[in-house]
Symmetry: C2
């Protein structure tokens, strides 16, 4: 009893897989990896629990797919920002905006909270993606320091982690209180960060 029959061309295959991964992301984000059952995921898709195993060998494989798909889009977009010719402050602002964007929030939250439950090999694979991301941000910070736009006494590594930490905490906050909108939060965070990093005039 599927909701809607869709034409299934060579691209439709890929799309369906994305839907399944998206459903897993949604459920893992809501209930946590261990708290979520494969039945929960199947319910979102309107299919039977066992049918999921056509797409994944195991629940853990589903978690890895969510982490990977979520993060790959992230890295790509980040490298775009890094390559642009904006000032370092603008880049920092864009990174924060993008990092804590409320669009693919499910993927972000699963990555943040659940990746640690991946088995060793998978965790190392995901960690490799993560390092690329962190290093790209760190290069933006270092570039800002070299150009004199940021203070010269910054610890670039710690500054990077602070930027990430702020972004992550923003993402974790959405939806908890009505008056804490993403816009208000990100504006304030960007303002704080830019002032903390910039040289004094």
């Amino acid at each position: 009893m599927k909701a809607l029959a869709e034409p299934r061309g060579a691209a439709g295959v890929r799309r369906r897989l994305s839907e399944v991964i998206g459903a897993a992301a949604k459920v893992f984000a809501k209930r946590g990896y261990h708290g979520a059952s494969t039945q929960d995921i199947a319910d979102v898709l309107g299919i039977r629990q066992a049918s999921l195993y056509y797409y994944f060998d195991s629940k853990e494989a589903a978690l890895e797919a969510v982490c990977r798909e979520g993060h790959e889009a992230y890295v790509e977009r980040l490298l775009q920002i890094a390559r642009s010719d904006a000032t370092s402050s603008e880049k920092v602002a864009q990174v924060l905006l993008h990092h804590a964007a409320p669009e693919r929030l499910d993927f972000t939250l699963v990555f943040l909270r659940e990746r640690r439950f991946l088995p060793g090999p998978a965790r190392r694979r995901i960690r490799a993606l993560e390092l690329r991301y962190e290093r790209a941000i760190q290069r933006i910070v270092e570039q800002g320091i070299r150009s004199g736009e940021f203070r010269s006494d910054l610890d670039a590594r710690m500054t990077t982690l602070a930027l990430l930490g702020l972004g992550n905490s923003a993402a974790a906050w959405y939806g908890r209180e009505a008056d804490v909108t993403p816009e208000r939060m990100l504006r304030a965070y960007i303002d704080l960060l830019v002032r903390a990093l910039g040289v004094r005039h």
Copy 2:
């Protein structure tokens, strides 16, 4: 077959309960609430799984106890800081130091990550504690703004959340990389925060 027989006076009762809660905190922090079994907790204590139910009515009750015990100590210490006659900047620094102190890290991490799995009523009880904590920090920020020590255009609420977010992200980072020590991290974070909040000279 207990590891060590201890004298069990009127205070020993309380201590034993704390040990049990501490074991739960340790296990929940490591494996996550849903990923941890009551057997895991019993193993840490060297007792049988069923014996835990002498202390708790349910696994959920154990989670609430961990969240409560962890947070009560927090609030207490925070109010001390708030009452002191340090400058606002010093207070902010102390709050961050205390919030991300690596001592009772298990409790902190469980509170951060697992409290959302509490059932409605328990979650509301814990949320009440949380609000006291947030408001106490917010008062410190507001006081700094009023006294002219901090910028007057700060959004006190968002600044509070940023402070908490940085603290939380610091706590979440410990132990992931050797060269990221709590000292280095907290020093950098405090430096960033104080510069972000302070008026320019």
